[in-house]
């Protein structure tokens, strides 16, 4: 049967096209911000495994620096903080350490800040078995969390900072934070807001962790010879001291 072309049908097609276009646009409107992670030592370029002096001039060799980041938010100058539900595992020994934030599209935004949780949110931590993730490669899944989980009832390791003072004999240090009490948030604002265009995928931010400042802060210094080890549960005060320094060791690359 051949349907005759009628003005009414023509009108229907005309109405459908913008509708379809709108539906497609909504999906495309999601913007992405790619956050790259870099590590420095006292403001200078640094790679895991290198030796660099601490505040007393002793050579420090970091051997493992990993963390979970989560509970992101971007600061829209008009609407305030917009939460973004992302968890990423960052291994600073890898060149491509990064997280990707997907921002639901509601038009262009003007952004002047980023908030980032340092650890795993409480509702995803203790009593959450990595084996329960259907995608084992999820950052909190079985494979994705390898080496960053304390056991099925104990939760995730939020951050790992391990290495040694290359003194004679060597002093090994291990700072593992992972209890809900050690979850921290860092806020990084910038003076010149920038435009996050609807649907844009080409925004890049580099966050820098100064590993030196994880031991030496304005109000506290951790000396690995005196305080070499915490796994949080066995030394909560040291874990809290460490995450407080770690929280303030972040900056955004200009």
């Amino acid at each position: 049967m051949k349907i005759p072309f009628t003005p009414l049908k023509h009108l229907g097609i005309c109405a459908l096209v913008p509708l379809l276009a709108t539906a497609g646009c909504t999906r495309q409107k999601d913007a992405e911000i790619r956050i790259a992670y870099d590590v420095v030592w006292n403001g200078s370029p640094y790679e895991i495994g290198e030796s660099a002096p601490d505040v007393q001039g002793r050579p420090v060799q970091l051997e493992r620096l990993e963390c979970y980041v989560s509970d992101f938010a971007i600061h829209d100058v008009d609407e305030g903080w917009l939460p973004i539900d992302t968890v990423a595992r960052i291994d600073f020994s890898k060149d491509d350490a990064h997280a990707v934030l997907t921002i639901p599209g509601e038009g262009d935004r003007t952004i002047d800040g980023l908030r980032m949780g340092l650890g795993v949110p409480e509702d995803r931590n203790v009593d959450v078995d990595p084996a329960s993730y259907t995608d084992p490669d999820h950052p909190l899944g079985y494979t994705g969390s390898a080496g960053l989980h304390w056991g099925w009832a104990a939760g995730y390791i939020f951050s790992v900072y391990e290495g040694r003072l290359l003194t004679e004999p060597n002093t090994l240090f291990t700072y593992h934070a992972g209890d809900d009490l050690t979850f921290r948030t860092t806020e990084l604002m910038w003076e010149e807001p920038w435009l996050l265009e609807c649907g844009s995928k080409d925004h890049n931010i580099t966050l820098v962790l100064d590993a030196y400042e994880c031991l030496h802060g304005v109000n506290d210094t951790i000396d690995p010879e005196i305080d070499p080890e915490t796994h949080t549960g066995n030394n909560l005060p040291l874990a809290i001291r460490w995450v407080d320094l770690y929280q303030n060791a972040w900056s955004i690359q200009p």
């Binding site: 084996a131 084992p136 494979t143 989980h149 056991g151 004999p169 040291l238």
Partner: protein
């Protein structure tokens, strides 16, 4: 000459029929049966490669190939020669002996729950099971048979094994390749799952641990060291950092230097793969499942008994440039009392799963 249209049409249709005709009978149909993999309670999902899904036919073929001695130069050695079921598919000798009499340099690892591993060999140089399986057959110190010869032997098989047919059943082709051999064996190894130890039964609420076993489990989970010497020490055995029980696999799948040697000339371990000095002396953490069966222990099989292993960790190990910070080498070791050591070993025995080692589906089918 006039030829009728009907005649031409008849010739055309007849030609089409001939072209379509299979003079050798119908093509065999390839219809593999998906393998019903059951993930045990508390285990993570298994990350199966998209290009090698488990099938009944593939697993069956893999089992035959795993035990196939014709894959060795002298027709005397199979994968199962160095991965014996009764010792959790490991080798009771520190080093395996190849077909030429050459001795290996590392202890054959136990094949147990390998479907959850993220790298293979002690140094993690293979990232997939398929990749791992490529190595032992042509290796001169192991089975010493070039892959070309191995696949030719299988392709020309006129025994009841009928490998060409089995490869067709598993992969839809009678063309046997090294790639398909490794895929089949990988399928078989992936279904070798241990989940019925006493500890598994306890976790499922089906069994009770003795006081000694439970104390050992608590030791396993506690931080090591005397708190007077090691800040935060809990007089535990500190096993859980590397042999974590997430997913009930008792390994973190990472690489550690557990303080065996002061230097690494004999075997640099993971550094051979990464080239990083930080990885010198580091080896992959093996699972503790069936550890009571799978000695000797360590990458070089230097310890014969669990008692020796526990004593090594209790001592704190030997200092070196990459010794793991979990080792208590400079602070008096773990300082475990004899009864604590006994409890820890009792716990380790609860990880023994003879249902796994005696599973008829894993034994030699030839």
């Amino acid at each position: 000459m006039r030829v009728s249209t009907t005649f031409i049409l008849g010739l055309f249709l007849g030609g089409l029929t001939l072209v379509g005709c299979d003079c050798h009978g119908p093509e065999p149909v390839w219809n593999p049966t998906p393998y019903p993999l059951e993930i045990p309670p508390f285990f993570p999902p298994m990350d199966l490669p998209a290009d090698n899904p488990l099938t009944e036919e593939g697993v069956r073929l893999g089992r035959m190939l795993f035990w196939e001695t014709r894959l060795s130069e002298n027709n005397a050695m199979s994968c199962g020669t160095c991965h014996l079921p009764e010792v959790s598919f490991a080798d009771p000798e520190p080093y395996s002996t190849g077909v030429t009499g050459a001795i290996g340099t590392r202890n054959a690892m136990a094949l147990i729950n390998m479907g959850w591993a993220s790298s293979y060999f002690w140094d993690g140089r293979a990232l997939t099971l398929e990749e791992q399986i490529f190595e032992p057959i042509p290796h001169p110190d192991e089975m010493n048979l070039p892959w070309s010869e191995a696949v030719a032997r299988l392709a020309n098989d006129d025994t009841e094994s009928d490998y060409p047919q089995r490869f067709f059943d598993a992969f839809g082709t009678t063309e046997i390749t090294a790639d398909l051999v490794s895929k089949a064996i990988a399928q078989f190894v992936r279904i070798m799952i241990s989940s019925d130890s006493k500890f598994d039964q306890w976790r499922r609420g089906e069994a009770s641990l003795t006081d000694s076993e439970y104390n050992g489990y608590q030791m396993f989970l506690r931080e090591g060291g005397d708190p007077e010497v090691v800040p935060g020490g809990q007089f535990g055995a500190d096993c859980f950092h590397c042999h974590g029980e997430a997913g009930l696999q008792f390994t973190d799948h990472l690489f550690h230097n557990n303080g065996l040697d002061p230097s690494f000339e004999a075997d640099p371990g993971r550094a051979l793969v990464t080239g990083s000095p930080l990885d010198s002396g580091r080896f992959r953490t093996p699972t503790l499942r069936n550890v009571a069966l799978s000695g000797p222990f360590m990458h070089d099989g230097r310890f014969q008994t669990l008692e020796e292993v526990v004593e090594h960790y209790n001592s704190g190990g030997v200092a070196s440039s990459t010794i793991d910070p979990f080792m208590k080498f400079g602070s008096g070791g773990l300082a475990l009392a004899p009864s604590q050591k006994a409890d820890l070993i009792a716990f380790l025995h609860t990880l023994t799963d003879t249902v796994f080692t005696q599973n008829p589906a894993f034994q030699n089918p030839h």
